[in-house]
């Protein structure tokens, strides 16, 4: 993966930049020793690494403002970082950058049950937002797999989803307001504790902008009352086609499950081996979960299983206990760790129209033969978000490159059938160079025009999202200005 050449003029200013940062931050908040900056050399896309010039760990919006003002004046690129769990390289440093980590900013600033909101500093982890309100019967809905570790800052940057977004939406549908620091240090408030922010929907624009428009330091999030109960049903089918038809019939019947998860045979075997979830061995497995009171759950599951029976399932099992529900989910939730135990892998997250599932899975199978790499598929079947996991051997020279080529072909296929490159992980560096397959030059130009407005010198996370060749003239601006 190509990254821009570090700016020698910026590197030459390191001492001055460090001194200025130290003047506004506590001494332990500025990290410049190469042995220590290594800790920030990558995120969860570990194939790519580059230690930053400096890392800073501010504790307040005011400190973030000071940092950005200094970096703006010095022309230093800034890469914001939440918990470093990005699968797309969204927090990958450049050698001439300041990494701005928000991990120390993890306070709950306000909980308001009357208005069903919580205000947090964005370094707080996703799961601990729910942790702060669950005693009172509330939860924060977006639930990415990495929710134990990932920060709200990163969730906002990538507009993170999760398994339950069919019913509850993704981050942007649950975000009501932010405090954001612009690259020049100015602090702006977008939205608040009210619904429908005023004026242009800048909140919606910032959410999912991959840390390229500003650094979000505080967020007001919608919290929801916990449902009375939830229960999954497990279904096995002879083919992906049949499973797909069953999903469409469930949705057309007017039931809106909270989650519909799909796994193919390879993943069923790997997960079963790892998590002992008692999955049936079949070509396609669905986990469908519904919510409500005991009686409501029974009614919905009766309807769902009746629909499933019309599709000749090879297995059909309603969970009979909390323990069984936990085990059914344990297998699915362990999918990434389970496959990680047997192989290095790359996880894609292209999204397709649900009706294209059988065709896309068949094509992925053919490509798997062609490239000689194994693939397992998990899939948020309700919303079309695929997660093909391509296995490769990191120690075998050339294998990563073959895997990347395979992955790119799969994502191009997603676009070809009417879908998109990424449903919830973001573009980062990983899918940057594929953007021209989804968007025409005018479409990319419109997006880059937005960045021009928020960050005219392209200092914030500059080498991400847009192909380097496409953003080159803009990124060159700050160099030319010197």
């Amino acid at each position: 993966m190509e990254m821009p050449i570090p700016d020698p003029a910026v590197l030459a200013r390191k001492d001055r930049v460090v001194a200025r940062l130290q003047a506004v931050l506590p001494s332990d908040a500025v990290i410049q020793d190469p042995a220590e900056t290594r800790a920030y050399e990558c995120d969860a896309l570990t194939a790519y690494r580059c230690p930053p010039m400096v890392a800073v760990l501010p504790a307040s919006t005011q400190e973030v403002s000071e940092i950005l003002r200094i970096c703006h004046e010095e022309g230093v690129p800034v890469v914001p970082r939440g918990s470093g769990t990005s699968l797309a390289g969204g927090a990958l440093p450049t050698a001439d950058c300041v990494i701005l980590g928000v991990a120390r900013m993890n306070d709950v600033l306000d909980t308001d049950y009357d208005n069903r909101t919580i205000k947090v500093q964005t370094g707080r982890t996703n799961l601990s937002v729910t942790g702060a309100v669950e005693e009172n019967g509330f939860f924060y809905a977006p639930d990415p797999s990495s929710q134990l570790a990932c920060a709200i800052a990163g969730n906002i940057a990538m507009n993170s989803g999760g398994a339950h977004c069919l019913k509850y939406g993704v981050t942007t549908n649950n975000l009501m307001g932010v405090t954001m620091v612009m690259m020049d240090g100015e602090i702006v408030e977008l939205g608040g504790a009210h619904m429908d922010a005023a004026g242009l929907d800048l909140l919606g624009l910032v959410c999912g902008s991959e840390g390229q428009l500003g650094v979000v330091t505080e967020a007001t999030l919608r919290i929801l009352p916990k449902p009375e109960g939830a229960r999954p049903v497990l279904m096995g089918f002879d083919s992906a086609e049949i499973a797909g038809a069953c999903v469409a019939d469930i949705i057309k019947a007017g039931v809106l499950p909270v989650a519909i998860e799909f796994m193919d045979k390879m993943l069923i075997e790997v997960c079963e081996d790892f998590a002992k979830a008692d999955y049936p061995m079949c070509e396609a497995l669905l986990i469908v979960e519904v919510e409500g009171s005991e009686a409501e759950i029974n009614d919905q599951l009766a309807l769902i299983t009746e629909i499933a029976r019309r599709h000749n399932p090879v297995a059909l099992r309603e969970s009979a206990s909390a323990d069984e529900s936990a085990r059914i989910w344990a297998g699915r939730k362990a999918a990434f760790s389970a496959i990680g135990r047997i192989s290095d892998y790359m996880c894609l997250d292209g999204t397709i129209p649900v009706s294209e599932l059988p065709y896309v899975l068949r094509r992925i199978g053919e490509m798997s033969e062609q490239y000689g790499l194994r693939v397992g598929n998990v899939f948020h079947a309700g919303d079309g978000n695929m997660h093909p996991l391509i296995c490769y051997d990191a120690n075998k020279p050339g294998d990563l490159e073959i895997c990347e080529e395979f992955g790119a072909e799969v994502l191009k296929l997603c676009v070809e059938v009417g879908g998109c490159l990424t449903g919830e992980h973001g573009v980062g560096i990983e899918k940057r160079d594929l953007m021209t397959h989804q968007y025409a030059p005018a479409d990319l130009e419109a997006q880059m025009a937005v960045k021009d407005v928020f960050d005219p010198q392209w200092l914030l996370n500059p080498a991400k999202v847009f192909p380097l060749a496409v953003s080159e003239t803009r990124r060159a601006l700050d160099v030319a200005a010197e």
Partner: protein, 380 residues
């Protein structure tokens, strides 16, 4: 001007010599200066997959056509877009482009989100006449910046929408509304808050004390399968019995009528005053109204949306002072409109960003100029 293809529309914008007033069905009562550019010629549903909960339609497609197609498959627009014709006395047919451009949502916004939460993709023509695509037709999409949200609620000032893809949802089997009588504003908001904090998925929460004859009503809607609605209604009554007031349940037909009235602000259709719409933190609503000079009001969104009757020409924003939210002028005389901006003034930092975006997307300042803020540059 009424082009019937995106290319023809782009040509019109490209060759425009002066301001253009972008129009869908012309029902929202906004009449910016300029030659009228109607999008109504770009009409028709281009794709509908009920099993994928997705619809794509051209911007000029009437909402009635979309709702009829959805109803045939037992589905609907979950954000319940308001029809402005009754309260504004306008004619014409509301269109998809108008609804999305103005981010128009109804009572269900409190539970299911607003129009912008259901807009998956868009095509638009910017102020230079360039056609742009953003988003797509799948429910989860984080590929690049979300310009769909930016266009939704931009009132045509950044571009003219030509096509929108939507997430749609199943229609519930039935609905019912629990009515509480006699609560004042503070207690009404407390009751709505208690209901919203319950697991019974309230899809409408409105309170009306100062407008109706015959005392106040607090209305709470539940939708779903028959047995589920009955069960939840009983639990909700239990939950609210501490308010110690009369409660009764409106059946599906009555409930449907109630929420259409709340959605379309029909109670305000014939009043003589100006009409404002305030978005605020729900629990702030009673105090905000207490310090206004309003002649009447009702709460939707559990208090988060206030429909206000203001004496003609009075500045509601001045009366409210600083608060967590904003006020929009919906209906007023031309004199009032000339004196008071339609939209809430923005803080300087935000205004700078908005002006910057307008300057980039509409460098000649020809798309509904002045509607949402100062024009970036005079037309040469």
């Amino acid at each position: 001007m009424r082009p019937d293809t995106e290319a023809a529309l782009a040509d019109i914008v490209k060759s425009a010599k002066g301001p253009l007033a972008i129009q869908g069905g012309g029902t929202r009562g906004l009449s910016p200066q300029g030659d009228v550019l109607s999008v109504a010629g770009l009409s028709g549903i281009t794709l509908y997959e009920p099993g994928a909960l997705t619809m794509v339609a051209q911007a000029g497609t009437p909402i009635s056509e979309i709702e009829a197609a959805l109803a045939a498959e037992n589905q609907r627009l979950a954000f319940e877009p308001m029809d402005h014709r009754a309260v504004l006395g306008t004619q014409g047919e509301p269109t998809l482009g108008g609804v999305i451009s103005a981010n128009v949502s109804g009572p269900r916004r409190i539970q299911g989100g607003s129009a912008r939460d259901y807009a998956l993709g868009a095509r638009f023509v910017d102020g230079t006449g360039t056609a742009v695509k953003n988003g797509g037709r799948v429910m989860k999409n984080v590929t690049g910046y979300d310009l769909v949200k930016l266009m939704c609620g931009a009132f045509g000032t950044l571009g003219v929408l030509t096509e929108v893809s939507l997430k749609v949802l199943p229609s519930p089997e039935t609905q019912g509304t629990l009515m509480l009588r006699g609560l004042d504003d503070v207690a009404g908001v407390r009751a709505m808050s208690a209901a919203m904090g319950s697991p019974y998925e309230i899809t409408g929460a409105a309170h009306c004390a100062k407008i109706m004859e015959g005392g106040s009503v607090t209305a709470l809607r539940i939708e779903g399968f028959e047995t589920s609605v009955a069960y939840r209604m009983d639990r909700l009554k239990d939950l609210l019995k501490g308010f110690n007031v009369d409660m009764n349940v409106a059946d599906a037909t009555m409930s449907d009528w109630i929420w259409k009235s709340v959605r379309d602000a029909t109670l305000l259709a014939d009043v003589p005053e100006d009409i404002w719409r305030v978005c605020c933190k729900p629990s702030d609503a009673p105090a905000l109204m207490a310090r206004s000079s309003a002649a009447g009001w009702y709460f939707d969104w559990a208090g988060g949306l206030i429909w206000v009757r203001m004496p003609a020409g009075d500045d509601l924003r001045a009366a409210l002072g600083a608060f967590d939210g904003h006020a929009t002028l919906i209906r007023a005389s031309e004199a009032t409109r000339a004196a008071l901006p339609t939209f809430h003034p923005e803080a300087p930092g935000v205004a700078k960003i908005s002006a910057g975006l307008r300057a980039r997307f509409d460098p000649r300042g020809i798309l509904n100029p002045g509607l949402m803020g100062p024009v970036a540059r005079e037309i040469a």
